[in-house]
Each structure stands twice: as C-alpha cells, then as structure tokens.
Symmetry: D2
Subunit: 251 residues, 4 copies
Amino acid sequence: MANSKFEYVRNFETDDRCLPNTWIVVRVDGRGFHKFSEKHEFAKPNDKRSLDLMGKAAGRVMTEFKEICLAYGQSDEFSFVFKRDMDLHKRRASKLMTSVASIFTSAFVFHWPQFFDIPLKYPPSFDGRVVLYPSTQNLRDYLSWRQADCHINNLYNTAFWTLVLKGNLTNAEAEKRLCGTFANDKNEILFSEFGINYNNEPQLFRKGTVLVRDKKKKSEEELEGRLTKDILALNEDIIGDAFWNNHKILD
Amino acid sequence: MANSKFEYVRNFETDDRCLPNTWIVVRVDGRGFHKFSEKHEFAKPNDKRSLDLMGKAAGRVMTEFKEICLAYGQSDEFSFVFKRDMDLHKRRASKLMTSVASIFTSAFVFHWPQFFDIPLKYPPSFDGRVVLYPSTQNLRDYLSWRQADCHINNLYNTAFWTLVLKGNLTNAEAEKRLCGTFANDKNEILFSEFGINYNNEPQLFRKGTVLVRDKKKKSEEELEGRLTKDILALNEDIIGDAFWNNHKILD
Amino acid sequence: MANSKFEYVRNFETDDRCLPNTWIVVRVDGRGFHKFSEKHEFAKPNDKRSLDLMGKAAGRVMTEFKEICLAYGQSDEFSFVFKRDMDLHKRRASKLMTSVASIFTSAFVFHWPQFFDIPLKYPPSFDGRVVLYPSTQNLRDYLSWRQADCHINNLYNTAFWTLVLKGNLTNAEAEKRLCGTFANDKNEILFSEFGINYNNEPQLFRKGTVLVRDKKKKSEEELEGRLTKDILALNEDIIGDAFWNNHKILD
Amino acid sequence: MANSKFEYVRNFETDDRCLPNTWIVVRVDGRGFHKFSEKHEFAKPNDKRSLDLMGKAAGRVMTEFKEICLAYGQSDEFSFVFKRDMDLHKRRASKLMTSVASIFTSAFVFHWPQFFDIPLKYPPSFDGRVVLYPSTQNLRDYLSWRQADCHINNLYNTAFWTLVLKGNLTNAEAEKRLCGTFANDKNEILFSEFGINYNNEPQLFRKGTVLVRDKKKKSEEELEGRLTKDILALNEDIIGDAFWNNHKILD
C-alpha cells in the first residue's frame, strides 16, 4: 500500500502567500450569532459578559501569535493586525485565517464558564477572512471603519432597545420610529424621552475593545483587570490620532 | 462619524471563489498536537477517546453543512468533501475553510468532557486548507492518499510503541530498530517478538474513520452507536472499489 | 553594484499555476477593433481577409505550442484549448496567456501584407485571459457558447448590413427595424425582402473557424489550402456531436 | 440556437483584480531571443537598432496607457509602472499584462523596418507578468534590481565579446577566462588588454533606457530625437536619488 502513487494529489494545493510588506488583517465574525445570542439570553442591547469573553478569546490569539501587534473587536467580530514584515507560516493566507478562527473559537468555548452562568447549549462558531492593506493609512482607515460601524450600530441598538424595554414599544414600532432618523435624532430620543445621555454610556459599548501589547513592568495593582501580563484591553477612540501617538504600534 | 469615508477599504477584499464543478476538500489538522497529546496523556500509539471525539466533531460539521457528502479522518486530521455542484457561500474558499475549522474546533472543545475524564488544560486548535479536485478519480486518489498515510503511520507507531512499552526499548532504541525497515519487517517484529497480528488491530486505528450520510429508517438497535440519526461512522477500506460501490456518494 | 540587496523584490511575484487536470482555455480578443476595422476599411458584415488572417495567426500559435489541441475563432476573437494533462511553463497562467496573446499579435502584424493590400496604419493589439474547465462537457459548452455567439452576431450583422447596403436604410433605421426581432424574423427579412437564404451564406461567416491537428499524410492536392502541413482549418458545426465523433480531440 | 444554456461557462472566469493602492509593474521579456538575435544577425554584445526598437515599442505602450508613469528597459525586457491609484480595466491583472505584451509586440513588429534593413524572418514574441509593490521603496528597489542586472550582464558581455572579437578567443575560451572573475577583474581585462575604459561605453548599453513623460513645451530642436512629443527616453542612473529628485514621478 505504497503512498507514492497517490501523492500527486498534493500538486493540487495552491500557494496563497500574502503579498510581502503589507498589513495582514484577519477578521473573525460570529456565525449565526443572532440566534446564538437569543438562545443564550444575551442582555440587550449589549451583553458585557459576551464582550469580555470575546476580548479574552482575542487575547489568547495574541498570546499564540506574537506577530499580531493589535486587535480590535466589537459586537461579534474581532480583527487581528499582523505586523507588515512578519513571515509566520510564510504568510500563507489559509494557514493564518484558519488558525486565528480556530484559536479564537476554541478559547471562546473554553473560557465560556468563566463569563456565563448558563452552560453552552451548542458549539458556536466564527468564520474568518484575510484582507491586505498596503499603507498604514489604509490600515488605520480599516480600523476606523470598524469603530465607526460599532458607533453607528450601538447608537441604533441603544435607541431601539430603550424604546422597547423602557418605552414599551413593540419591536416593529421601535423599528418604525427609528426609520430614517439621523444620529442626532436618536440622541434626542434617548435624552428627552428617557433621560439618557448617550455619551455617558460605557466606552466598552460605544468604542469596542482594542488590545495592545504592553511589556512595561507593572505593579500588582496595575495588573488588575488585565487580559494577560503583557496584553492590555482598552476602550478608546482609535479614529483620531491621539491613540496612535500614545501607542507607537504601527510605526 | 459617517462611515462612508472609510468604506473604500472594503475594496481591498478579494474574491476567492472556488472553480465551479470541482470537488472541494477542506482538511483540518491539529496545531501542536504532539504537545497537546502529551499534556493530556493520550494513550499510545492510539487514543480511542481522541479519535472518537474527532469523529464527533466532524459529525457536527456535517450536520451544519448539508453540502458535505463525506468526511474522512485519522490521527489529528479530518477531510471534508463538498459536493461538486454545491454553491454554499458562493463557494468562497475563505468562508468555507474558516467555518469548517471553527465548527470542528468548537465541537471538539464542547464535547471534550463526554470523551475525556481529565479537563482540558488549554484550548486546542486546528488549521485548515482548501484543495480542489477536478475529477472523481482525483478525489478518490486524495482520499486513498490519506488512508494510505494512516496505514503507514499506524503500522510504524504500533511497532514503535510496542517496542517501547512491551519490549522495554528506549525511544531512541526503538527508532533505531525501525530505521530502514519495510512494512513486512514491522509486521514480522510485531508477530514474532510480541505475538501481535497487525491485521487484528482495531479497524479504527488501521483504517481511520469515514463519515457518510444514511437516511434510511433504522430500528432503535441499529441507531445505537451512530454519530447522529443520519450520519454513520465507518472504519472501512476506502482505497478499493467495494466501499464506493456500496455507497453511491460520488456519483 | 551588487544585485543581491535588491533581489528580495522577486519574492513579490506570485505563483499562478493553473489547477492540474483541467482544460486550460486562453482566449484573445481584439482591442478597439471596431475602430481598427473602420480605419482599415473592412468589408461589412464580414471581411474574409481579416478572418483568414486571424486563422493564420492562430495557426502560428498552435505551431509554437504543441500542447494546444484545438483552436476556435470568430469575429475578432480566438480561443486556444490546451490539453488537460499538459505541463508547459508549469501551467503558469501569466506565462500562457501573455505568450499566446503576443504570438497571435505578432503573427497578425507579420502576415498582414499577405492578406491586405493596404498597409497597416498603426499596430493592432489583442488582450487575453485564461479560463479553466474541469470537465470535457464544460469545455464543449464553452466552445458551443462561442459558436452560438458567432451565429447570433452574424445573423444580426448580416441582416443589419443588408438593410443598410441593399435596403438603403440608415444605420439608425436598420437598428430600429431589427430591434426586438427573433432569429426567424431576421431570416424572413433576408429571404422575403432580399432573396437571401441565410443558410447559404459562407460557413466561414456562420460557423467561424476551428483549427485541428491532422498528421495523416496528404497528397499535394489535399494539402492545398491548409494552414500548415499539420493544421487544418474547418468551418463546421462544433455544437453537435458529429464533429467530436470525427475528431477524437478531447478523449 | 439560444446562447443561454451555454452561458453558465462564464462563471468559470476568475476575478484577478490587483490589490488597490499598490504599484503595478508589468514586465515583458523576449521569448527565445537568443535564437532570434542570431537569426537576425544582431551586433554583439549590444545591438543599438534592437534597443532603439524596444524603446520605440515601449513608447507605444505608454501612448496607449496614460496610466503608465514610467518604463524601464534593457536587453530584451521592458518594465512598465502603473500609477498606484489608477483603475484602468478595474486593475485586472490578466487584462493589463496581456494588453501590454500585445501592444509591445505589435509595435515591435510594426516598426521593425524603421530600425532594421533585413526583413523579419518570423514573428517574434514576448511574455509578460504582473508584480505588485506596496511601497515606493519596494518599487525603487525593483527598478534598481533591473538596472543592476543590466550593468552586471553588460559588463560580462562586453568583456566576453571583446575577448572573442578582438582577442580571438573561442567562445569556450572566453567563458573560461571570465569564470569566477569580479567586476574589477573584467574592467582590468578590458582596459589593460584592449585599452577599453568600460565607463566610456555608451550609457544606452550600461544603463538601459528609462522612459518618462514630459509635457513641457519644447522647441523644435529640443524635440529632436524624442520618442514622441510627450515621452522622453533617457539613459541615466535610476538607482541613486538624483534621477528621482529631478523627475517627481513617484510622489
């Protein structure tokens, strides 16, 4: 039963190395998370447990892949940025995106009991993709796109669920009420009708989570609440320049 | 904070649809499973619990993706065959391979306690890849390649661990003893020195596991030991024609 | 001035080998041939000189690439079919399509004076592409698609230019007259108004040109009118089975 | 003969758009030019007529594609640099490389009689490829690589053919003489044995040809010797910064 006569099938595999000197972004997205969040009774509009678990899983990915310099997540998605000069797995796209998706999923299931009291009803999953960005500006615009998306969705969801949960509207009524409204309309509804200042909502919900490495020695106190000894989770604006000036990550 | 000025970054995503009318194979492989199997004290040369858990996880993938007509696994790998005319996710390679790798991993972690008494020490992971086969013969040769690989490795491992565990050789001595030997030499060592007839070893170890769909109604008794109501796990030869004549899977 | 410090740029080249065991089709298309045909006063609706020159250029491509088993052309396009098991240039798509486009173009310009009395006014060009077909049926359907396209366009053009040249309609009037008509309407216009039986039009115009290899020894007489000693130009139906039964090209 | 039942074959075409915001380089290379140059009795080690014809053909490519900002050629190759933000043909690699290869070839054959007294014996051809460079430094290194290659080959060829043509060595003897020599050895052979100062050889041979656009108005006199009114052919060093400081091409 020699293997050699079958081995020609290896030639059907393709070489999918990412173009050198580009930023490699792997983004994972929850598959069927609308249903998953309902089955597991996620709080609306945001479930802090889930967001923290997402951050925990992302931290695990960064621990396994030192070549990742930053990760950004919101809702049921997380993006991982590989340094542009890295050569892990010869930059093969398949290897990178499947490994990231698998590690992320594994850690999500593994750490579930630390964040949720109810047990998992079935195994959740995440798909993944690779996107290349040639310039640092392109990469920053990508991250800005995801954070702006977080803002837009969260403002909508906050208004929607406030109308439903506090305003006693049906889902259909709330949807209709918000149809065609702009950001300031939604802010106004929240403030004038429910006394909610959207800008005081938790940064975690409004900004998402950015993970960075920080190898400076820290006191026990400072380490409190960190993902790992070396990885810091922040809920800051990453669209403006301030964050990037503080953290020389992409230089 | 309009999103529109950043949205151009979506144009950097590439279209990676698989060529139509080809068999799409997604194979997942354990990442760092040598270390993982040691940390979790897998039996040598084969750990039935692990192989059964792999089969369970593969069954979950087939349950989520009806477009998969067959799966074959051995050791820490599993291959999934999508029907050549399927159009799931527009046949996008990224989506298919990351989803399969993620579902497989998720189910592996989720079902771990059903198969192992000791808890998982850390989250395991699997990478994945897509390979296309234009003809049914190419696909059969691919599956033959994997099963021949199973046979070759298992014969070696069985001889190696018998020499170590029953023959009291060190790992290095066993390796030296087997260096340069052919299949019949290994069979002979097992038989004459340890009274082991390799052909009587469990089919699970020698042939791996092939999962097929079987929608015929079954009695309670027949359903016993099945992965799911509709998925059957077999440990048969898939290199010869007999299996394919019985199961009209690729026609 | 050592070259070594710059040589890293070679790593930016990608491997674009075509999937093994698939039919590789390279199609070349005239660039800006509407204008080109006007500037060089092509006869309407078909210019036999141009079609013959296209065939001549295609023959040159087949002479250089023995791995091409068949070529089919019509209007300003030509498709070349590489045998599915061939390994020329490691099946690299870039190499194959640029070489075919270049040889075709070169021969078109080189042989121009044999077919046209007026000199070329400027250098014409052709773009190219590669398409893979996994099954022989897919390939036959591709070739049928191109020949059906030839028929549809030629029937339209024959009707259009007959209305203009013999019916004294303006281009706009002819276009309007044909708008929304079916094949049988166009046949009827040609027959009842101009006494033209479309089916008696030259096969070259209605069927296009298929080039095949024929290595049987031929008498001087039989060789007459051949493209080369070994390549035969035919104007036959390639949609039905008869052609393929006669020429065992794809078996 | 409806076309619709065959049209599904279009789905087998792939989308091969180049990553946005990268420099697109198309390089064409002579196919079988060793034999071609012998058959057409090219002067050794350099044939000025051939190099000028190459430049002429490259100028034609730049005239058709305004999106090309620079071209560099030497020996039987020419590289074309498309501006990084251009969107011609949706940046489809196939379209770009086949068009460039075809136009170049067409112009080479078309203009041959302007440069050579002897007629073309058969149609020459060029293959092509696309390479992407994410940063301007990568692109400059690519161009430096090609010019350094020009230098290395030309110094070797100059020494080789001087030994053969003036030193009366056989080809084999000349090859042996140069085997293992460094640049300064070759310079020394040329100078001490033949009185040739390599640095006084024509820049065309030592540096190759770079084509740039220059839209400044010129006097009749200044236009003399230009490729076209707007395209300038230079034989300058493009490895150092001086050229790039003079011509703000990549900014």
